[in-house]
Symmetry: C2
Subunit: 254 residues, 2 copies
DNA sequence: AGATCTTATATGTCAGACATATCAGCAGTT
DNA sequence: AACTGCTGATATGTCTGACATATAAGATCT
């Protein structure tokens, strides 16, 4: 009924029809999720795993690399080394989320409207919490980014980066790490995509003003004005997306 | 400026201090993201990659397994086989998201309040779109799940599963696949966790009523009542979480 | 022309070996 | 007594070469 329904040991019976390394990785993954292998616990050595599963060491290693790719384990060389169960921290999960989200968007050629709609809908959901919990530290981060965005000679890349930092800070102001993690895919992965599409057309001054209004509302802790400011930002972004599409339609692709 | 800023070839210069397989995987991953390796395109054979990177074939294989673990490539045996760039589809990304979210929650012992707060905040953000776009098909799915939940003899597991299906259908009703993907981590991964914590205490009848009211509002396309119904569900769930915590505090852990 | 056999190619797996990082313990010196 | 440096044990990282097996394409036979 709980997590610890331990069969306690790894399933070492392998189906010869499927890849061994895949099955071994699954077996170990299941054990980790079930809690049979505690966080920071050490897995048996590669040699011992090879014995248990009755495969060679390279095969075991391929399985371990699969798990390492998911940040489920880390390895250390040396005498007391080995493979250790990783505590999946937010930073790793964040990075992972961004990679997956980026791939999902680019490989499926998701159109701007769909991506932006999802992003703004999700980010808007953070506003109530942000208004209620924003700390002076959060507000300082937000204002710092807006100040940077107002500088004249800023490159497009730096402006985009600052924009991402601004939105991330806004999400973090909600004070919920799980929420921040969920939003990583929307902000860090989508925002650059949106910037790439829109940064040629947009007016930085207008964005700075909209950002400023948003901060003021959040600082005052007033939800309605915050939503209004955010919706204005949304509307402008969507409008830019539409203009870009029209331009693209007019001119042939390079 | 666009994705295809191709340096066209893989970085084959490796740093001897770090693991080769990790660097090779990163190099190929970068090439995929940059669009140098098109979807469904074939990678060079393992032997050729080994030559290019000046490493042995097992090392190349470890790198490929890392990519396979992320669903970035698939492999085929045989004459015209090899490793092919995978189009990351929503189903795979969905599965991936659920795994990561589950691990993140369990391994960090995220408390119910934090997880639930994030989940409800995000799901609430889907309501406006759901009210605007829900199709008869969506509504039918929603009603079917509620009907199942009202059956007397339903097991706890089945009730939980139906609950998840209900919320997933609600999110899908927003008609935005990117949004649905983002919500997978919240609904599919968090909901079972929440159920596990709350299903001993909750009143099924009350939940069925709340679900029904929510569907009615969504069907009518009226956002305010939908939000009200959803907030009632949120409040009830949070309240249950509080009760459980009190019970737990009273009795020693098994 | 169609069915079957052969061959080439690529991945999947294995065995054994060496290189290297790291820790623990012991020796020697200060 | 405390610090230093050596040494061995252990485990991962990597290499070499080989065999097994799946698959497609060409060659052969009916």
């Amino acid at each position: 009924m709980s997590y610890k329904c331990r069969g306690n040991r790894l399933k070492t019976q392998l189906d010869p029809a499927r890849e061994f390394s895949q099955q071994i990785a699954q077996s170990i993954r299941d054990a980790i999720i079930a809690g049979d292998l505690p966080v920071d616990g050490r897995l048996p050595s590669e040699a011992e795993l090879a014995q248990r599963f009755e495969v060679s060491r390279p095969t075991v290693r391929e399985a371990l690399k699969r798990l390492a790719a998911q940040n489920l384990i880390r390895t250390q060389r040396g005498a007391s080394g080995g493979a250790f169960v990783n505590r999946l921290n937010y930073a790793q999960a964040h990075e992972h989320m961004v990679t997956t989200a980026t791939l999902l968007l680019t490989m499926n050629a998701v159109d701007y409207e769909t991506a932006a709609e999802a992003r703004f809908a999700l980010e808007r959901a953070c506003l109530p919490l942000a208004c209620a919990r924003r700390t002076p530290s959060h507000l300082a981060s937000l204002r710092a980014e807006v100040a940077r965005q107002a500088v004249e000679g800023l490159s497009d890349e730096d402006f985009c980066a600052s924009d991402v930092a601004f939105h991330r800070a806004l999400v973090d102001a909600a004070g919920n790490p799980v929420l921040s993690w969920h939003m990583a895919g929307a902000v860090d992965a989508m925002q650059p995509l949106m910037n790439m599409i829109t940064f040629t057309a947009r007016s930085r001054a207008r964005i700075v003003v909209l950002h400023g209004a948003l901060i003021d509302a959040v600082e005052a802790g007033k939800l309605k004005p915050a939503c209004a400011a955010f919706d204005a930002l949304t509307t402008y972004s969507m409008q830019l997306g539409g203009e870009i599409r029209l331009q693209r339609r007019g001119s042939a692709a390079p």
